[in-house]
Subunit: 345 residues, 2 copies
């Protein structure tokens, strides 16, 4: 198993991606290709007391870096020698089993779609993070890749999310819910109203375990394994969770920092506090899979530290081994409103 | 100042509304009309050791109750002698200065719109709760009353929310943000893309302080005083906050309940824990104003206890005294795409 890591992507590059990849190599036994400016990568190694590349780790030189200010749709074409373009091309050529980047989301999504292609029949790749919920996490699909969605996109998200929950989170017969503002099929915008019967039919035929609409509150509390949403609503959901977690964590910190007694209190629950932080930390999961792309591509959070990158590499390995991509390809006819064969005729 | 309270609405009726109204009467010096089944109201009083109505509190008998299973759009017409219909009719006749109910949201919204009417020129009334944020709370408008919104609705929500933040939260020149998934004006669904220039123009003319798009995370952290959203997105935002708050509160409880030492720790921060609970408690604010209706109508949370009802009564008083309704009426020409005069010609 070999994972290609974008050494130049993210707020803490090249330090975090390089060290995170090394951690993955040492702790998980994964082979690594670090893509980026060779001299910058070697500098990080030297600064951390390593005079040579560890066994199983290689460097693929790429002289350019895609910056946040680059136009996401064209960055990979304009910067043909960027770590993004070189890394995804290596993935395409089969030189690695997955790709991890903490760089620009938009550029990664465009580049992966054009270089690595979507699985045949998949209308749009989706960003599918695992969000912390009362049932130990749920797959949110989509969370921002597709703002304007016809109903078929959401039907596909439901299937793809269901495969993800089954194969990567180990959920048997995962419960799929449509993110909405009430239980009745008539609730929501035109999109939800149109998607509901499609999901219901897929459920009736035993293809997915559709449990109906799920309200945001119940979704957080753990009512479902898969939360189906268009990219706009999914993003609002994800970012509200993040914001509320940060806001409350700050309030808790204030509470513990008030005086000597409260500081003592913090010591007494320090183990619990660590657990608590873990729940809300995006770094634990690793990153967000670009589901629907024909190869494993993981977007790590822009602010990833080495530990988060290590976990994103682990996630890429798991994604590659899960059979996700094969399952999507095998079921594509069920996932389309117009069966693929007809379209090809 | 006299507030009309629906004694039969909510999960804890008539107990909570009756006792909450009495608290408001005693602690805030507000006169009260309790609307509902006289015998049920008197029973609550007797059970709580009161043989007669306190001074300043009267009962308006209504024999029927709007239930959650009633069709919201027609409940108030079908049940003409319900506490909802009778209460709002008293409000219309000027017998009280505001109305508070913890009953069905949909029924209250329909009934208030048809009995008390919208302010002339207001296209749709909005549900505008004050949500807990890093800047001490922000007005979220709308949170579910209007799922399908043409751009003009959101323009009006921005103005109405701005008046609310100024007059009820005491914010000077309140910052208005459009709930979105990125900063650029091109972000979001068609609705946000169309609304952005309208809000920008209103900002340029100095009518509102439009600060641009606001992402959900920044909104929770306190970037703006007014969060403008369609009812679908606003509801996702609100319910995700609620769910995350409940989820994390449960995790914190678990952390403190682990063993004797952690229980001791909880004692040491008990004051802080109370503050923390207050932040996320909907009962502190009172309820959600139906902004755009020509009279003050406050929807209290269905699960309100007496304290939450007391606060909803306080909120109705403040709303009535704030000049909100007068301000909306005075600025209605600025809030319409087609000026009102033209429409009337």
């Amino acid at each position: 198993m070999k994972i290609i890591v974008d050494a130049m992507g993210g707020d803490n590059a090249p330090q975090a991606p390089v060290l995170g990849a090394l951690q993955a190599s040492e702790q998980l036994g994964v082979d690594i290709i670090l893509v980026g400016r060779g001299e910058d990568i070697l500098k990080v190694l030297q600064k951390n007391g390593r005079q040579e590349l560890p066994k199983g780790v290689e460097i693929a030189h790429a002289s350019q870096v895609v910056e946040i200010c680059d136009d996401p749709a064209n960055a990979f074409r304009r910067k043909k020698d960027s770590s993004l373009t070189v890394g995804l091309s290596l993935l395409k050529e089969g030189r690695g089993d997955g790709f991890v980047s903490a760089g620009s989301t938009g550029a990664l999504l465009s580049a992966a779609t054009l270089i690595n292609k979507r699985i045949k029949g998949v209308r749009r790749a989706a960003m599918a993070p695992v969000v912390p919920t009362g049932n130990g996490g749920a797959v949110l699909i989509d969370c921002g890749a597709n703002v304007k969605c016809p109903p078929e996109y959401l039907l596909q998200f439901a299937y793809m999310g269901s495969f993800y929950a089954e194969k990567l989170l180990g959920r048997e017969n995962p419960k799929v819910g449509l993110l909405n503002i009430g239980a009745e099929p008539s609730k929501g915008t035109d999109l939800q109203v149109e998607v509901y019967p499609l999901l219901e039919a897929a459920g009736r035929e035993g293809r997915i375990n559709f449990v109906g609409n799920v309200e945001a509150r119940e979704a957080v509390e753990g009512a479902v394994d898969v939360i189906v949403a268009d990219g706009y609503a999914g993003n609002i959901f994800l970012k509200t969770m993040e914001g509320t977690g940060l806001f409350l964590a700050r309030e808790i910190k204030k509470m513990f920092k008030k005086n000597l007694l409260t500081k003592l209190s913090a010591l007494l629950v320090s183990g619990g506090l660590k657990e608590f932080k873990k729940i809300m930390s995006s770094g634990e999961v690793g990153g967000t899979a670009l589901v629907g792309i024909s190869k494993p591509v993981i977007k790590a959070h822009g602010s990833s530290d080495a530990y988060a990158i290590r976990n994103a590499v682990r996630q890429a390995v798991e994604y590659s081994q899960s059979g996700m991509i094969e399952s999507i390809a095998a079921h594509i006819d069920q996932m389309r409103l117009e069966p693929l064969k007809k379209t090809q005729e």
